[in-house]
Each structure stands twice: as C-alpha cells, then as structure tokens.
Amino acid sequence: MSFRLYNYVLSGNCYKVRLFASLLGVSYESIAVDFHPGQEHKGEKLLQISPAETLPIMLADDMVLTETSAMLGWMASKFDAGKNWWPVNEPTKITLIIQWLGFASDLTLTIGEARLHSMLNRDVDVDRALAGGKRALRLLEARLTEQSLRGSQWLVGENPTIADIACFPYAALAPDAGLEHDDYPVIRNWLYAIRSLDGFVTMPGIHEVHKLRDTENTL
C-alpha cells in the first residue's frame, strides 16, 4: 500500500484523492470515517492523528497531510513518471496550476458548503455560499472558454493536470447544492472530458458516462 486515506464517501475533497489514485492506478488503504451523522472526524481518535478536524487525512511517507493540494502534488511527484500531471520543469504551468489549486479551495468553501446545507442539513450561510458558488462557476467557465479558444479543453496547458482534478469534484457536484450546469456549456464539456479519462471512478452525485460495454450485445 502506497498511502493510507481517512476517507468519507460523500466528501468531494476525499474524492479528489480517490479519483487521482484511480487515474494513476495506485492502490491505497482506505479507512471509512463516519463524518455524518457520527462527526467522527471531531472525535479524539481522529484528532490524535490530525487535530485539524477536516477530511481527508493522508498518511504518506511519514507525513500527515490534510490539504488536498499537497496530497495531489505528492501523488503526482511519486507516481507519475512522465511528469504530465504536475509538470515541475515548466515554471509557467506549475505557477498556473498552483493558482487553480487555490481556486479549488474556493469551490469547496462555496459549493461544498452549500451542498452540506442542501444535502446534510448543516447550518451554513447558504445564500452566501450559493452566491459564491455561482461566482466561482462563472470564473471557471470563463477560464475554460478561453482555453477552448486556444484549442485546449483543460485548465492549464494542453493536458489534464492536478488542477483539473482539484477543481473537478465540487464543480461536478454543484447540482447537489441546486446550482445546475445548464448555464455553463464549457464546464459541462470539461466535466465530460474528465469523466471519459481512463481509470475514472465515480462518486455519489457524479454518474459514469455509461460507455457501451463489450459484454453487451444490444442494438
């Protein structure tokens, strides 16, 4: 096992790690945490591991990681020999990737919060979260529009990077919070492109593209 993940099935942040591990073909040890309703991440057992009261927690190379950007960066550095997902030798690209990794946190704080409210009844300032979520989706749509005019369907450069992985979950889960994708055609196509990657895995709220299976003989 390459790392251990304290994991919650409905968390978009945990899903970033699950998705990237699957795309890289990396196996890991997953420990389910009862975030809802049990609030186990605030219990003493988990606080002993990380006092941050957040999920996911990753134990990797003797490090305790609580920021998903660091987790994605570590996984790319460790397991992506081609340096495509985290192109460390290309200063402009990694700078922009860091920029979008930061933006991914805004998605969590807006769409993620609104989703906690609309789905799990958490007490949050939902109007503020929804307004922020809409603003974030507009920024993402604008960036992806400009990229598509440049001939790329990805956030940075011509290939998918950890910036796409970091932004994907909460952008894809926006309808869970009542923010539909219908007004964002370029985001919709970018989501489809990620869902079509080899090794893609779903999470609840993000369906698979249902490509025709080899075993099926209908039509």
Binding site: K134, R138, A142, T145, E146, L149, R150, E180, D182, D183, P185, V186, R188, N189, Y192, H207, V209, H210, L212, T218, L219
Partner: protein
C-alpha cells in the same frame, strides 16, 4: 412562439446531451454518434426522469434512470428490464424541431425551426448567461462597444425592433460580432456570441471578456432598486 437559439453547435459535440429552455418547455438536446441532432421534451415517458441527464449510445439517447433507449425519431427502441421486447412505435418522446445553421442550434416548440443566416465566416465565441431581465441585458449590450484587440472598436450596427439579434461592426465593416439572445426565464438571458471576419485567438478571448464586462453592467442595473436611477450608473 418563434424559433429560439439554444446554443452554439461547437458546445454540443457528438454523443452529448444538454438541457435548454424554450418558452415554458424544458428540453433535452442531443447528438448521436453521427452528429445527428434531436430536441425532445426533457422527460422520459417511462417514469418522468429528465432525459438531459441521460447518455448517448450510438444513435439513441438512454435515460439515466432505467436505461430506456430512444432513437433520433423519439421512438423507444430498447427497454433493458425487458431485453427481449421489441417496443412498439407508440412509446415515444415529444419531439421538437431543431436545426444547426451556421454553427447555432435553433429549436422551435411549434412547427419547423427556422434559423438565421450569419456572416459566412462566423466563428463561435461562447454562450454566456446573464442573471437579469432581457431588457437590462439588451440595454447593456446596445450601450457598449466591442474592443477588437488591436485598438479598434466595433459599434452597434443593427438592432431590429423586438429582434433577438444584435450585430456589431468595425469601422471598415470587415469584422463583425453577432449576439443572438435567448430568454429562458424572466430573470435570465443567454447571449450566444459569434465573430466574423479576421480574428486572432486573443481577439476572440477579448470578445469573451467583453461579454463579461457587459454582464457585470447589466446585473448591476438589475440590482438598482428603482429602475429610474439607471442613468446614474
């Protein structure tokens, strides 16, 4: 009800499905593997699921809920729960007319869709949704001019009364920007934007950014409590 523009062709590649709104109708628009377009009432006849959440297989759209398949004519051709059944031609979706004309998708919910001709070399820029009334959006668009990326400006050229089409032209008349307006609800408006003439990538990006500037202005207008105060902005 006339024909409405519902999107840019480039934003609906083959084997994809999207949602659109024309008048009161919630519509699923999709393309088969060959690129063939269909527009249907966005509701699976089986159990009412929105078909815009479905998936395309070959020349059929399948509902995400139970996988019922419908061909481009709207007729059900496969029911997974009864794989041996050949569904009768009477099980079908409500089909609307759709055409792809000069890179724009046009839908009509009553009768044949008729699109509009665009300048021959029109290239799609983007579709952008404004959260304000159609009037506020239109006023902001008419009141602005598009920067062409090299110091020049395109000013408003053509606004037919009641038209859902605005056209901006450069001084020499060679470059133009066409904005097609779609009104999905009272408080939102979608602008489908195309550029014709000689445009660099940066110029196209400039048009996209211009549309965001106009949107900010239009939505600010909407937020003014008394619409008489618009001039003060």
């Amino acid at each position: 009800m006339t024909t409405e523009p519902v999107g840019l062709s480039v934003n609906l590649p083959s084997q994809r499905v999207m949602q659109a709104r024309v008048g009161d109708a919630d519509i699923a628009v999709w393309r088969g593997v060959s690129g063939k377009l269909s527009a249907w009432l966005n509701r699976c006849p089986h159990r009412g699921m929105r078909l815009s959440h479905g998936f395309v297989r070959g020349e059929s759209l399948a509902c995400l809920y139970h996988g019922w398949h419908y061909g481009s004519d709207g007729v059900c051709n496969y029911i997974p729960a009864h794989p041996d059944l050949e569904p009768p031609g009477t099980i079908q979706t409500t089909v609307f007319s759709i055409i792809d004309q000069d890179g724009v998708l046009w839908v009509s919910v009553d009768g044949a869709a008729g699109g509009q001709d665009l300048p021959g070399d029109s290239k799609p820029v983007r579709s952008i949704t404004f959260s304000c009334s159609a009037k506020a959006a239109k006023d902001a668009l008419i009141g602005s001019s598009v920067a062409d990326g090299s110091g020049g400006e395109l000013s408003i050229h053509d606004i037919a009364e009641g038209s859902n089409r605005l056209e901006f032209k450069s001084a020499n008349g060679l470059n133009s920007v066409v904005v097609l307006l779609q009104q999905p609800s009272d408080q939102s408006m979608i602008a489908h934007i195309l550029a014709a003439g000689d445009w660099s990538v940066d110029g196209m990006i400039g048009i996209s950014r211009w549309s965001e500037t106009v949107r900010r202005q239009a939505e600010r207008t909407k937020n003014v409590p008394n619409s008489d105060c618009q001039d003060e902005l």
